[in-house]
């Protein structure tokens, strides 16, 4: 089904991934750093832009595909993951990247998350987590901490936030990492690893909102609080330990790889290809597809 000419990868320049569209993000937005890290990671991986499909939902961070030269699909709120899976299944040769915010991914999109993870279609999901709904002017988000005062929680949020890292780990993802633009080399590295990982790969980026976020959420604060998982001696093959560390989401900002499955199984798209290959000898020419309905034994 795929007719992509997969040329051998070559060393590429980050600027080959930069489109002419100027970002509308507020100056100081964490997403600029994510974009820069993504350019670098894509350059390192070496797939040309025309072989990349970049899908997003709705939100400030979901504007990101338009700022790259890849084939972009800025779709509707919360539905990037199903669309991306359809793309990858239809053409497994493409490099498929999905991006969105914490609201897009864990609120309206939350129902798609467990299935995308367990299906294990080979794609990379980047969430720019800023604990707020920036695009619509500062409402509560599913990762906002309890008690946060926002324009829709003027008396303080009465809910506990979701824990994106723990959920994605619990759903069974083979690669889970977190980064921050406050530490660009590390962010670039985990994005690149995620792109290369064969299967569903998740990177949560603490990407603060400079307009609606709190002072202590900004990048300067990240620099003081962030802790490197590698420096803590964490072994990314230890899934349970990863989940224990992920439980500290909201209190600690761990950067690096929480979990990387040392023996990833076949991806969904690989299984699709295998099934197509196995069953194709049984295909009746499509002009004769109606033969099976004959009543004179002509089946």
């Amino acid at each position: 089904m795929s007719t992509t000419a997969t040329q051998p990868t070559r060393a590429m320049e980050p600027k080959e991934f930069k489109s002419d569209l100027k970002p509308i993000w507020c100056p100081g937005c964490g997403d600029f750093g994510v974009l820069q890290a993504l350019y670098r990671a894509l350059a390192s991986v070496g797939r040309p832009p025309h072989e990349i499909a970049f899908v997003s939902g709705i939100g400030c961070s979901s504007r990101i595909p338009g700022y790259t030269t890849a084939y972009g699909f800025n779709s509707v709120h919360g539905r990037a993951l199903p669309i991306a899976q359809g793309i990858k299944i239809a053409n497994p040769d493409l490099l498929v990247v999905v991006a969105g915010g914490d609201g897009d991914g864990f609120s309206i999109g939350g129902g798609h998350l467990p299935h995308a993870v367990r299906r294990n279609v080979d794609l990379t999901y980047l969430v720019m987590d800023n604990q707020i709904y920036g695009l619509t002017k500062g409402q509560l988000s599913p990762t906002s901490p309890r008690g946060l005062h926002t324009i829709t929680s003027g008396y303080g949020s009465m809910e506990d936030p979701v824990n994106p890292l723990l959920y994605v780990l619990a759903y069974g993802a083979g690669f889970v990492a977190q980064g921050t633009p406050a530490e660009m080399p590390g962010l670039t590295a985990v994005i690149e690893e995620a792109l290369r990982f064969p299967g569903f790969a998740f990177v949560n980026v603490q990407s603060p909102c400079v307009t609606f976020g709190e002072e202590e959420q900004q990048l300067r604060a990240h620099k003081t609080h962030m802790k490197s998982l590698a420096a803590l001696g964490h072994d990314p093959a230890d899934r349970l330990r990863a989940m224990a560390l992920a439980s500290d989401y909201g209190r600690e900002l761990y950067t690096g790889v929480f979990y990387r499955n040392p023996e990833p199984g076949p991806t969904y798209d690989a299984l699709v290809r295998r099934r197509q290959a196995d069953l194709s000898p049984g295909a009746v020419p499509r002009e004769r597809v109606l033969d099976r309905f004959r009543q004179d034994g002509g089946r």
Partner: protein
């Protein structure tokens, strides 16, 4: 590997010139990006200054590039952009909508300071004497850039701008 390690101890003069050029290039591109952001957010004072800085970085980069070509012609580079992050380039976090020219200058000043610090600290690891000389020179240049920025600062009307944000419109939901 997205961020291959830069081994300062093995840096040759060619590498050092390339490194310095890349540092300027990164800064040049970043100042242009910030200038674009300032344009989009109708902050002309800072935009103008960032463009001025972008031009300066381009000039410095061109000078280093010329030096490199003169000595090493078109020999392939062993140092890549992937090895460095925001050495002299301002971090994205440094920019803000409606920032004043004074604040923009402050950003540039801090960048020149951190660039100076980079070369100064690198000296401790560098082995090649020609590279040491180059890094000394570059460090000195960064100091002179700082002076330039301070002079620009002095041209600004006196007094800190206060309460500017109080008069801007509320953000618009999209």
């Amino acid at each position: 590997m997205a961020t291959p390690k830069l081994d300062l101890s093995r840096l040759s003069l060619k590498d050092a010139l390339d490194l310095a050029t890349l540092i300027e290039e990164e800064a040049h591109e970043r100042y242009l990006e910030l200038a674009d952001q300032m344009d989009k957010h109708r902050t002309p004072g800072a935009a103008q200054f960032f463009r001025f800085m972008a031009e300066n970085e381009a000039k410095h980069g061109a000078a280093l590039s010329a030096q490199r070509r003169a000595r090493f012609g078109d020999a392939p580079r062993d140092v890549t952009r992937a090895m460095l992050f925001d050495v002299e380039a301002p971090e994205y976090d440094a920019a803000r909508a409606f920032m004043t020219a004074r604040e923009a200058l402050g950003v540039a000043l801090r960048c020149e300071e951190k660039a100076y610090a980079f070369f100064a600290e690198a000296l401790a690891y560098v082995n090649d004497p020609q590279v040491k000389t180059l890094f000394d020179e570059l460090g000195a240049e960064e100091v002179s850039h700082q002076d330039m920025v301070r002079r620009e600062l002095a041209h600004l009307p006196p007094g800190e701008e206060r309460n500017g944000e109080a008069f801007v419109d509320d953000p618009n939901p999209q």
